[in-house]
Symmetry: C2
Subunit: 199 residues, 2 copies
């Protein structure tokens, strides 16, 4: 085989492998399957897959990044449509709880990958967490400027606390426990947070 | 062997088995060990252990009940020493976070049993949760009567929400994620809850 040049077609093949892998892991799980299993199932040789990805984890990371990016995209759109900081807190809790529920547990069953990514602190999970923390700070600053939220507690402390309340719904390992009640739980937690933010 | 009469000495032997099993599971874990392993290690025959317990789970349940009862006992004592409902909220979060950390992860490493009990909804875990929910209601009622807490939100809703904020620290499966920061996290969550309860 000659030396490969990485061009658009290689990108297409990478995408094809990722799509097929997402389908495969969604059915058979991530932790207990191998690249050989995956290759056999999607009709590529194992060696061919290894031309594009150095490990199963690398494939998993791309899938995980895609999913978390999708939740972040939904969140961004929903926040842009929310008219106040108060409304944005509500949106934040709802979209995170429902987005995670759908993408990791229902539409696509990628819980396995999400759980490993959270447990092993993959870059995708760490970035997602950092993005959520930043979103919380932004909403709090907006609400403080608008006089909607109290300003006595240091911003850092409030942001850390709000993120901590949100975290069980954002972390797939924990979200699993709240699956059946995620929407109602998000509403209850939102109410606590909003009462705690009252000026 | 003649028919056994269950008297004080049988109770002693049960306690001996439970103590030895707690030591054993603390070292070797609960999920991946068998009653045969345990019997061999503590020098009893498997048949003899089965005279007192019908399954490994039954032994695990007694150990779990003992641990959760110990946390509940510590909580009760600490609450009795707390001078106001506000102080009791602080006490609740601290004792639950630290009691769980110590009993399941540090002094005794019984995380394994605690996690199975939570996942499989053993009676000990269900009772513990019900006890905590009742404690939350009691503290809220005390704080409302004393004028320390707001009374606008229905009590049921506030109680469900406060329990939901506490839950990551009370559930061993979730607590594992917060182990290194349990004390600081308990303080942050307490602050949110207390601000949300302000009249």
């Amino acid at each position: 085989m000659s030396t490969t040049t990485r061009g658009p077609s290689d990108h297409n093949i990478r995408d094809q492998i990722v799509d097929a892998a997402m389908e495969y892991f969604s059915h058979y799980g991530f932790e207990k399957t191998t690249v050989s299993d995956l290759a056999r199932s999607i009709g590529f040789s194992k060696a061919y897959i290894y031309k594009f990805f150095s490990s199963k984890q690398e494939i998993g990371e791309v899938i995980c990044t895609n999913c978390l990016t999708e939740i972040a995209r939904r969140l961004e759109a929903a926040l842009a449509a929310s008219s106040s900081a108060t409304e944005k807190i509500r949106t934040l809790f709802q979209v995170i709880a429902l987005g995670g529920t759908e993408l990791f547990f229902r539409e696509r069953r990628l819980y396995d990958i999400a759980a490993v990514s959270s447990r092993d602190r993959w870059a995708a999970a760490v970035d997602y967490e950092a993005g959520l923390r930043k979103t919380v700070v932004d909403i709090l600053q907006e609400g403080r400027s608008a006089g909607e939220f109290e300003q006595t507690t240091p911003l850092d402390e409030t942001a850390a606390a709000v993120y901590l309340v949100l975290r069980p719904l954002a972390d797939p390992i924990q979200l699993q426990i709240y699956l059946d009640t995620a929407e109602a739980d998000a509403a209850l937690l939102t109410a606590v947070v909003l009462r705690s933010l009252k000026p």
